[in-house]
Symmetry: C2
Subunit: 411 residues, 2 copies
């Protein structure tokens, strides 16, 4: 019997009615002849409540105890989910991360999975039960409860699908799939039938992903087909899979827009070895997340160094740069807060020429000013004025025909 793993996020199990609805999904998959494993997150705002309870007692709680506390949220969901399934006439059994031996390292609050014991699950599936597994959690070698960090339940689900050799890992969420771009901005955006792991990773890093990067990496590593679909209706969602030949025919799969950014430009940085390292070490210490970095030499002695951050990191970033003035000499600092980043992503870029050109032409035609450009193998990003950002995204989407299904898109 084929194994299907289904993952339901917090909003999909927020109350009794939603749990019953999710349970009906699991039953449907079972009745279609599959062995079914369900991974669930904590209900609705339960995790937020537990965090608030913790903060009231200790604003800086020990991470081990935080994991011990937060893991109860998922445990509650899966036991309730099992009860719902039994009430609906189906045999079910729930497990914590510990009970199925989801072994992780000991890095509390962001542990990484080392191994999964499939045995107990396989035994229960063989007995005809629907198996529920608490997402987001594991245990280290010494039986300390760990949690997997942001997007942890997705990672649990994909890892379980890999360990069990499942045919598919279904991620049920409040959107019905992955769109070529944000439909709130570009109304003509269409839902993708499939997308490659690499493209999805780029989209996730650009803040556009429904899923967190780690679970996608896991899917890529262990060859798990991930199906992102709606918990609200029956429509097919988007498959995240390995690259298939037809994907290369499509130059650009998706486009994203990131606002609330800032660009820092250090002008005339003395060109001595280790200066860049010093700067970024200070920023890391200040917990500033740095996105794209651009360095250009302006003379033998001096370079300009710029980088982008989230708008919320502006103050700590300014302070960190103030701190290093003694160590690293530079002429001046400019900070721009009125910017946004427009990006296009597609594995087809690897084999197609002229993608950047097409993007820049589209932006020029729309009279959008490009501040700076960064690229990766399958991505091109432009920093533009924030008030031109939506116009820019629309121009780019039109240029790459992101209003059409991939198979109908011009190459």
């Amino acid at each position: 019997m084929a194994i299907v793993v289904q993952k339901f996020g917090g909003t999909s199990v927020a109350n009794a009615e939603k749990i019953r609805k999710a349970a009906a999904r699991a039953i449907k998959a079972k009745q279609a002849g599959n062995s079914v494993v369900v991974v669930a997150s904590a209900r609705g705002k339960q995790t937020d409540q537990l965090i608030a309870d913790a903060m009231e007692l200790n604003p800086n709680p020990p991470k081990r105890e935080m994991d011990q506390l937060l893991s109860t949220g998922e445990q509650q969901t899966v036991s309730l989910f099992a009860m719902a399934l039994e009430a609906m006439g189906h045999k079910a059994i729930s497990f914590t991360g510990s009970q199925i031996k989801m072994i992780t390292d000991s890095v509390h609050t962001k542990a990484r999975i080392l191994s999964i014991g499939a045995e107990r699950i396989e035994k229960e599936l063989a007995a005809g039960r629907i198996v529920l597994v608490a997402g987001f959690q594991g245990v280290d070698e010494n039986d300390n409860i760990t949690t997997l960090g942001r997007g942890g339940s997705d990672t649990s689900a994909v890892a379980l699908a890999a360990a069990l050799g499942a045919k598919e890992c279904e991620i049920y969420t409040d959107v019905d799939g992955i769109y070529t771009t944000d439909p709130r901005i570009y109304k003509k955006a269409v839902k993708m039938k499939q997308i490659s792991y690499d493209e999805m990773l780029e989209l996730a890093s650009l803040g556009a992903g429904v899923m967190h990067g780690r679970s996608i990496e896991f899917g890529k590593k262990y060859n798990v087909v991930i199906h992102v679909r709606s918990s609200g209706d029956e429509s097919e969602g988007t498959l995240i899979t390995h690259e298939v030949p037809q994907m290369e025919g499509v130059v650009v799969s998706g486009a994203t827009i990131q606002k609330d950014m800032a660009k820092f430009a250090l002008i005339g940085v003395e060109n001595s070895p280790g200066n860049a390292a010093k700067i970024f070490t200070h920023l890391a210490k200040a917990k500033v997340v740095v996105n794209d970095i651009i360095q250009t030499e302006v003379s033998k002695e001096k370079a300009n160094l710029s980088f982008t951050t989230a708008a919320s990191d502006i103050e700590p970033a300014k302070e960190a740069i103030e701190d290093i003035k003694g160590e690293v000499k530079f002429d001046s600092l400019f900070v721009r807060e009125d910017i946004a980043e427009v990006s296009v992503v597609g594995v087809g870029m690897r084999t197609h020429y002229g993608v950047a050109d097409r993007m820049f032409s589209a932006l020029a035609k729309a009279k959008v000013n490009i501040d700076s450009i960064t690229t990766s193998e399958i991505r091109i990003s432009c920093i533009v004025d924030e008030d031109q950002a939506e116009k820019a995204l629309t121009a780019v989407c039109d240029a790459f025909e992101l209003d059409k299904l991939a198979e109908n898109r011009s190459k």
Copy 2:
């Protein structure tokens, strides 16, 4: 270093302020030079909320899943308690029943403890940490979470005290000890300095105990001194210990009153073998809890059989007796609902004469009618009219001087 086990019930950890107050207790015991283990229950109404959540999905939830669900309440408390201790400058670590290998049988919702792994706790105590253990829960051999039923956290605490060879198990509660009788009825009741396990077991079965019978049995079996005391103040509470010689000097240690009872009297039951068995089997099937049973022969052929139940069991008991009319012949059934039971308990009864006489004389002098009498080795109970019950208790308490400390009481 001596080990002290402290147990805090749900009301003693209901909110952040109370958790901090309980944590201060643990710190005080630590600073007095003890190794400290804390057992805690679920916060305030958390368990009730989880039960309501379960009932909404399944009015008859699988017991294994119920245990999986309810055990999260205690897990939350102990992790929060550990965070509070850390915030107050003390090293702490929390454990679930599973993590300390509190192994039980597989009888979900009322499991019995088979063994406890002291090793992990001893290691953490040696490292100077205060160790928190989630009460009420364990795991069976297959790593399924179990719970210990009513009074389960008390049982966890006493069992841990036994396994660790603790010098004392402190039970913190909202009363400051065990009283000679209910102070709401007999204002002159005094707090006992100590009481034997056997007496406490009788009091618990009579509904008067602060603690559940199972934890007291555990204490008796493993020789753990149990100290019942207030979480609200620093006063010494009551020690529950093995019988000591001076206890025998005191005839009656405590007195109780039970209301909301009913007495069933079957008159003229045919005296054939197995009739009593048939009656009580039917009552058990109807889940009627039968307290005292009295049977008296009235002739060679017939006997009168009476028994008491809780008032809430009247209807099912009546139906059960209606059911057996075909199998067991009897002349008539009388049901009295306007009764109460007054009892006195004391290990001294074993060696003293005239206790019953003294009780009956006191009741006669107070003009209290005695409906029926039952006794055990260390208990005498009288069924009286409900409206005379408080007068009866007062008369009995005066007769046995329950307004005086044991050492000042006449023998």
